[in-house]
Amino acid sequence: MNRRLFPLLTGLSLVIFVTAPILIVRAPYESTMGLVQKIFYFHFPSWMAMFFTIFILGISSVIYLFRRKPVADRLAVAAAELAVVFGLMGLITGPLWGIKAWGVWWQWDARLTMAVILELILVAYLLLRQYGGPGSDRLAAGLGVFAMANVPFLYISTEIWRTVHPRTSVVPTLPVDFGIPLWWSFTGFIVLCLALLTARGRLEEQRAAVDKLYLALEEE
């Protein structure tokens, strides 16, 4: 399944990403932020993709903890790495937007803080998997569950704290002219995410196959 799925997904996401700039250029300018607001069309979907992968990480961690399915573990690792990647995209495009729109590279407002903390948790997950030694797959699954459970708490704080970030409610009330390129890019990111997941999952699969062969070698 992986053999055909990956090229298909990659091709699809490429198509979406190549056509996205056309839609983005045609979208109207935002009245106070002007041209630089167009970073939004990549910035927001990359965060959504990050949340999507954290969700996958959490669910597959639960499945791995309670059902011990190896597929779930592979998916969890892939999802964690991807979440770091998408988070990095968001963390870099954000300040590039912010320096023009707000005048500062960085602000410790709640949304940005949450972004950094989530990224930290995910890097910690990867460090655990890398340096935890044997048995770290199970431990990492525990951490994955906690990471997913943490997201709402981190998110809630944005509703309480004052923030310079555009409020989340911007998206539901977006005028259609802004909405189309946004959702197009969003689809592109999700498809890209799925493509990368299959690729990364395949890597884990092959690693597991090598381990099995080594065991077979030792048995003889």
Binding site: L120, L127, G133, G135, L143, F146, F153
Partner: protein, 227 residues
Amino acid sequence: MSEFLRVAWLVVRKDLRVELRSKELLFTTLFFAVSCVLVFAFGFVRGGRAVDGAAPGILWIAIAFSGTLALGRAFERERYHDALRGLLMAPVDRPAIYLGKLVGLLLLLTVVEAVLVTMVAFLFQAPLFQYPFRLYALLSLGTIGFISVGTLFSAMLVRTRNRAVLLPVLLYPVTIPVLIMGVSGTAALVQPEPDLAMARLWITLLLFFDVVFVTLALWTFEPVMTE
């Protein structure tokens, strides 16, 4: 249910009894907490006066650091002589062991925090005792949140190679919400015009956090600790 609590209580009693003989964990953690606050005192004092508004942050950081120190050694005794395996093989609900360890650590930290609050109030001239009940609520809920995650992680890592460095690496990012809520709540109490409504909000959020994460820890303790 009562069996569950009984087992938890047995674990607490065992740890208390062992601890009271040597008082090793208590004294070393207390001393560490005190030195921590002193280091902050040297770092955050300008011209002989404490920097404004630093007290809540310093208090909670000291709690976090002392807590991590205590957590690192929470399962230390069980590592020797296969005591951990014996504990896990006992025909009891495993989460009860977790609960027992959690309560034991909370008791330790209660003593440490009593000292910490007094020191911080004194050294940084912060009116921490102005609203003692709310402060108590913040501290206890915050500590429960922090230690509940920490006990699980500490148990998880007990047989791991790099556990000493991995515990803080895993623990701090996941418990940052607790720190944020605790510091903000304490700041709301200590600021020149105390904002009691905000403090109550943070206390409520901390309560939610505790409920969610203690439940999660109880739920995942068993599968995480099984071979």
